[in-house]
Symmetry: C2
Subunit: 340 residues, 2 copies
């Protein structure tokens, strides 16, 4: 059972944010769960469009929307005061309001009062449940894949989503298990592991991918990296509690140092990152294995991307593919994941 | 700067708990910081005594006490309703009240009201500060030692305290840095790392042992174990943020499986635990080294304890001592810690 179970489908709120770089949540929802996106709603004067039907809250409600999602995140990650009337309009139209911002929705008094008055919910997807246990460490049935990384922000969520879709396309029973805000909105549930108290982190991961049918796959969105100066603990708790059978290591072709930390923080050799992940994974699941590499080649042209995948795959002796590029390489990676 | 800075000296409150096994906090304070313990106070009918002066709150205040510490922790870790009048008496006598229980003191309405009325503080040492940063990973001056373990509850706090005392006895400038409730009460400050949100754990550890004089030692109380099924994430965040120069591995001679988890959870070979700790430590501090083993031999008689320390030390090629037994072996371990 997941911690969060979100009301869907959604109306995507773009507010007054016209820079698409700050609309990644809305774009992610449009790209990965278009069937859950009834429409988009920008405030007057905002020209940003995602290509969905433009609807205000009342119209979205009439078409079946159950919640408005704040689909934009300006620098600082705060709900802006200019958005509050729009959020209240959504509550009054009968929609719940969902946010992945750092500011809790219920901390805005006007909004809390409106939700109370309308009998609607304010849902913060960054808030974990309060009843998480310490991990039991007990093995559980079902198959699990976890995406791990050499760093943050290089494709662990995307890779997990693409693998889930590919597993399903091969007729397998597979669920994407979300651990971050955008992933949770896409999945309609999940657990924001980075906000869990450290003692309960592995327990949260156990709850996120519960015992399942022996042939069922949970494809779990990784977080951070075991070698990251800031977020290693998150990665380890998630790895231990997930008890993955299969790991896929995500890396970016042009990444040489820790993102946001600078050249004084070079990434360790990929071989060492693989070994470290396997050592920790095998403490909980002795047969855990690294199936291959998901290489983010978005910074490279086609020829150089092919070359980078060839070279890294040969060096490591593992399938290496960019899920965004797909193709034969990605099929090989998928087969390697399932080959157990 | 530590997160918590506790008012001292203390009056130790034994409440109605007469089983010494549940008075470990009070015993730890008496044993490690007797100069900070003005007296002890048991409720009428409780026969438990620690050997300190028996004082009620008013008498303790008159002798200079600044806070009453809840020195007992019954099963479940809750403040009992029968203790509340005593806690209010302390507030009225002009003492702050400090607790390491799971129940926050301020959650007890009567107590909150009394503290407000008396202008006194209710201090929960399990509550971390709310402004912790993500770790910067930047190196900082000063020397650091972290006690790590093969499991929970086998002497990491005791070892760190004994080493701090020994370093000072050798004329060194050393501080014990506390990471758990009893340690925090002993030190008069610290950071309860296990209650920190995972994203900020390494940042909390950075704050706990800030930049210091090049010859200053911070001796940091470890938590959990990197190989523990429940608490590994806590251990890793603390290890990364502490950036220790020196590690001391704590183990218990008679421990073969994870405490509380049972024989299905055997401890990995000590060599593997050492290697894993060093791999992680060297990501942040390339010269980090394992100085030796603190072996808890409390379950063994003298002859078998000596044999166990001989055998393990020879196997690992490292000094091996039980700080509780002290002696030459412990002196050798201390020297090995400082030999850098």
């Amino acid at each position: 059972m997941s911690a969060l179970d979100l009301p869907r489908p959604y109306l995507l709120f773009l507010a007054d944010v016209d820079d698409p770089r700050y609309a990644k949540t809305a774009q992610g929802l449009r790209d990965w769960v278009p069937e859950q996106c009834i429409g988009e709603w920008a405030l007057p004067g905002n020209e940003l469009r995602l290509g969905l039907v433009e609807l205000d809250p009342a119209a979205a409600k009439a078409r079946g929307a159950r919640a408005l999602v704040v689909g934009v995140a300006p620098v600082g990650g705060q709900i802006q005061s200019g958005w509050v009337p729009g959020l209240i309009e959504a509550l009054e139209a009968g929609l719940d309001v969902i946010s992945g911002m750092h500011t809790p929705l219920s901390g805005i008094a006007e909004l809390a009062a409106a939700a109370e008055r309308c009998g609607r919910r304010l849902i913060d997807v960054r808030v974990p449940p309060s009843d998480l246990p310490v991990a039991s460490g007990q093995p559980r049935s079902g198959k699990r894949l976890l995406t791990v990384g050499t760093d943050c922000a290089l494709g662990k969520k995307y890779t997990a989503l693409a693998l889930t879709r590919a597993f399903r396309a091969r007729g397998l029973d597979a669920d994407f298990r979300a651990t971050g805000q955008t992933g949770i909105l896409i999945a309609g549930g999940g657990l924001p592991v980075d906000a869990v108290k450290a003692d309960f982190l592995a327990g949260a991961a156990e709850r996120l991918s519960p015992a399942a049918d022996p042939d069922h796959w949970d494809v779990i969105e990784g977080q951070g990296a075991l070698v990251h100066p800031g977020y290693a603990a998150v990665s380890l708790g998630l790895l231990q509690g997930s008890q993955p059978d299969v790991l896929v290591l995500c890396h970016a072709a042009d990444r040489t140092w820790v993102s946001g930390y600078g050249p004084a923080f070079p990434l360790p050799p990929i071989e060492e990152v693989i070994e470290l992940n396997l050592v920790h994974a095998r403490l909980r699941k002795p047969g855990a294995r690294m199936a291959g590499i998901s290489l983010n080649t978005s910074g490279l042209d086609d020829a150089r991307a092919e070359q980078a995948m060839d070279r890294l795959g040969a060096r490591l002796g593992l399938p290496c593919a960019d899920p965004v590029r797909g193709g034969e390489r990605f099929e090989t990676l998928i087969t390697a994941c399932l080959d157990c």
